[in-house]
Amino acid sequence: MFPNDPAALQAQFAEAGYITDPELATAICLMQALERPLLVEGEAGVGKTEIARTLARVADCRLIRLQCYEGLDSSAAVYEWNYSRQLLAIKLQESGASHDSLDVFGPDFLLERPLLQSIRQAEAPILLVDEIDRADEAFEAFLLELLADFQITIPELGTITARSIPRVILTSNGTRDLSDALRRRCLYHYLDFPDQARELAIVERRLPEINASLADQVTRVVQVLRQRDLVKSPGVAETLDWCIALGARGVTDLADDTDALVMTRGCVLKHRDDFDALDAETMAGIVQRLA
């Protein structure tokens, strides 16, 4: 169990490798206290998904993840009947090999998908509905029933109510507006890019072996890059990747090794236009100005 006190939760998150702020810790505590889902929005790579992973580690419970995509429907998200098994059971019955009464639409033939799994757990799991904005609006509407009452209706079986109320975290990159009905049911948190101090703390926490001055330089350069008009601003994950790449090349000071800086910039720049805008000279200039 995780504590209901935001400060204690913040400390536990830090111990688990996720540096957070009191605001997010408060939102997570409220999620637990009010049994309401938490909707986290923010740029790609700021650590939205990681919140759920860390929470599962801290609370020592199961993490059930549903990755949303266009065309996601209830057969992939909620349940599906095991057609092959149903057919085999019917054949067995026909051939006389089995004399048990047969209900092919019973629990034995039900394949549980993430949403159904999450409400059938004896111990409340963390349910991560990742990138909900990628799913269709029809699926979003379906999700409302689960989030409002934590129950799922299967026409052949009836309504299945939750054995335990999962703690639900929904993430969104803002590719489309979510419906007001969904937002109304959720607590809301907007996860921004961390400032330099927090990002440095994250790097040091996740990569304890990294050279301290290199980590400081990298995080400051990344902060500068985020101020620029890039097609894709680097997230925390990119910063960590860059630190690993530079560390693997034995770099301790970016100013001394411009080659490494340029060769590894693909860790943080993910678009051709960004590559063109930040050529070797520009990158070296940024590092020199920060020195």
Binding site: P22, L30, S75, N173, G174, Y188
Partner: protein, 399 residues
């Protein structure tokens, strides 16, 4: 701390703050209010030190509200200190205070409140409200809530078009729906047992759009909302291209590919002097034909969004449009002036002057935008009718 706001019991104080937030456009329903009271006023869930964070998580529903919350909180509880406080502590993507920022029509309206306040006729709820919103002239959406709603609906039109075009289903090994015909056929091999079922999925609907958007001063009123409409289309049809023009042309496709609306707004606001100066439509189209014409495909749908106020020679415009029309499947011209009360110019008159444009459509209301979606969903019409005939049939009524 403000003495007036701190008078009364914790419950009264929280209720007054919720009322204040509602007045700022926050949608705080009975459920949120009950949770607010439970969390903040009754105590036991959060200590006072975390009350602000808790209220923020409970009351905000999107990143705009999230960014503005701290400012509202400070102005309500600490009115003196907040005069020196920035509006948003996280405000990396806040639009510049004095500029013509793309902050949504609601934001733009607030700069010129006198001309629109009290004129909003957006009342009611449910389907009736949807109909009223559809017909309402964008200029008269005085209240912030209605404008947000219209912007949201305008952006959703792109998704509706995509779904409309993608209803046809195709056989696929990993579809979501059973294809009965294919399943029965495959079952023949297993004596009628459907061991290897066939599936179908929706057909992706590729549509190539080329959008040319007038961002001159005369379009200031309409543009934030129309940008949301364009964004909806660009997000749904990824290969499409978007250009903006005033006295010159520039590409804005990458801005619309931004997944975050806040970043898109910030990038648009940061560059290219939007909504300043006059309009050179003909020269901009010429420039487009010369420098980017090769990117227009035979199946492209070109959408020009402009009020048509042009400082260039009309003959130049006709020549540029003729060249453009020869390269694409159809040219739609969305004009915010059409259908507006007091404007006598009609689509028919425009069609006579510019017959190379397949349709002139009104862009002053949601219904006008929906008409554009219809025109994109039924491009086959143009092959059998002239541009003038089509525009006569499909134009909304004008005053």
């Amino acid at each position: 701390m403000n003495a007036a706001t701190c008078a009364g019991s914790p419950l009264e104080r929280v209720l007054r703050f919720a009322t204040y937030l509602r007045a700022q456009g926050y949608r705080i329903g009975a459920g949120e209010l009950s949770d607010l009271v439970r969390v903040v006023a009754e105590g036991g869930v959060l200590d006072p030190g975390h009350a602000r964070h808790g209220m923020r998580a409970l009351c905000c529903r999107n990143d705009d509200e999230w960014r503005e919350f701290d400012g509202h909180f400070a102005r309500y509880w600490y009115p003196v200190e907040s005069e020196q406080m920035p509006m948003s502590p996280t405000g990396a993507v806040d639009p510049p205070a004095g500029g013509q920022g793309l902050v949504g029509m609601s934001g733009t309206s607030s700069r010129e409140p006198d001309s629109t306040h009290g004129q909003s006729d957006i009342e009611g709820s449910g389907a009736g409200r949807q109909r009223t919103l559809g017909k309402a002239d964008f200029r008269f959406l005085g209240d912030r809530g209605a404008m947000r709603e219209v912007e949201f609906l305008a952006e959703r039109l792109g998704g509706q078009l995509r779904r409309r075009l993608g209803r046809r289903r195709v056989v696929s090994p990993r579809g979501g729906k059973l294809d009965i015909r294919r399943t029965l056929r495959r079952s023949l091999a297993t004596g009628g047992l459907p061991l290897n079922p066939g599936w179908s999925r929706r057909q992706p609907a590729p549509l190539h759009l080329v959008i040319l958007h007038d961002v001159s001063h005369s379009m200031t009123w309409n543009n934030p909302l129309l940008f949301r409409f364009v964004r909806g289309l660009m997000q749904q049809f990824r290969g499409s291209l978007a250009y903006a023009f005033h006295t010159r042309l520039f590409e804005v496709t990458p801005y619309f590919r931004e997944r975050s609306m806040a970043r898109m707004r910030a990038r648009l606001d940061a560059g290219e002097n939007l909504w300043l100066g006059g309009t050179c439509i003909a020269r901009s189209l010429e420039e487009f034909n010369r420098d980017h014409g090769r990117r227009v495909r035979a199946d492209s749908h070109v959408i020009i969004i402009s009020d048509g106020f042009d400082t260039d020679d009309p003959a130049l415009l006709r020549a540029a449009l003729s060249l453009l029309r020869g390269r694409c499947r159809q040219v739609l011209w969305m004009n915010p002036m059409l259908g507006r009360k007091g404007v006598t110019l009609t689509a028919e008159q425009l069609s006579e002057r510019l017959p190379m444009v397949d349709r002139f459509l009104s862009a002053n209301s949601l219904d006008g935008l929906r008409a554009a979606i219809d025109a994109l969903a039924k491009p086959g019409w143009r092959s059998t009718r002239t541009a003038r005939e089509m525009s006569r049939e499909d134009m909304p009524a004008t005053a």
